[in-house]
Amino acid sequence: EDQVTQSPEALRLQEGESSSLNCSYTVSGLRGLFWYRQDPGKGPEFLFTLYSAGEEKEKERLKATLTKKESFLHITAPKPEDSATYLCAVRLNAGNMLTFGGGTRLMVKP
């Protein structure tokens, strides 16, 4: 069965304290891995798509990487406004829908 697992479930950081969020997946035929950010009361907001192992993408303080079994979202020197739930989702060769992980709730304290 296709599975996407995110860890940790929650993460508290001090402003400026860099860390990484993990998304591990067990799927047959990965067509793409997506990272989204979700703020309370809002829908998921697209951040990155990764398609093949070794690929990396960056946006401001965020950097996403992909291996054959997992993806990491690295947050460098986070700020309080980076506080949100970060969602990982995979798109498989069979079908167009996304299979989501449970998310990591990130809290950055000033």
């Binding site: 997506f34 809002k42 829908g43 998921p44 079908g95 996304l98 989501f100």
Partner: protein, 114 residues
């Protein structure tokens, strides 16, 4: 460019009543998806339209849920009759394959069945 819009943002109904959720996708997006998040669980796929046709409805929980997409534009998701376990946040997303197939989400409709 306007994003995905969902109506209403919140709905509270009694068990046994009917509720209709609406989604207006990004203009020009052929793909439209419905997802749902119930309390404490991850976001789960419900169904996928390509234009006005249902491409995949494997995630629909039962026949109390009916989705339509009129003329390949907006979509509605009707729950009839609603049960307590239908409570959750319903998200709509749209995408266009020619733009990488990235799904853009609406803000969601929070449905509470009491």
């Amino acid at each position: 460019e306007a994003g995905v819009t969902q109506f209403p943002s919140h709905s509270v109904i009694e068990k046994g009543q009917t509720v209709t959720l609406r989604c207006d996708p990004i203009s020009g997006h052929d793909n439209l998806y419905w997802y749902r998040r119930v309390m404490g669980k991850e976001i789960k796929f419900l169904l996928h339209f390509v234009k006005e046709s249902k491409q995949d409805e494997s995630g629909m929980p039962n026949n109390r849920f009916l989705a339509e997409r009129t003329g390949g534009t907006y979509s509605t998701l009707k729950v009839q009759p609603a049960e307590l376990e239908d409570s959750g946040v319903y998200f709509c997303a749209s995408s266009q394959e020619s733009k990488g197939g990235v799904a853009f989400f609406g803000q969601g409709t929070r449905l509470t069945v009491v």
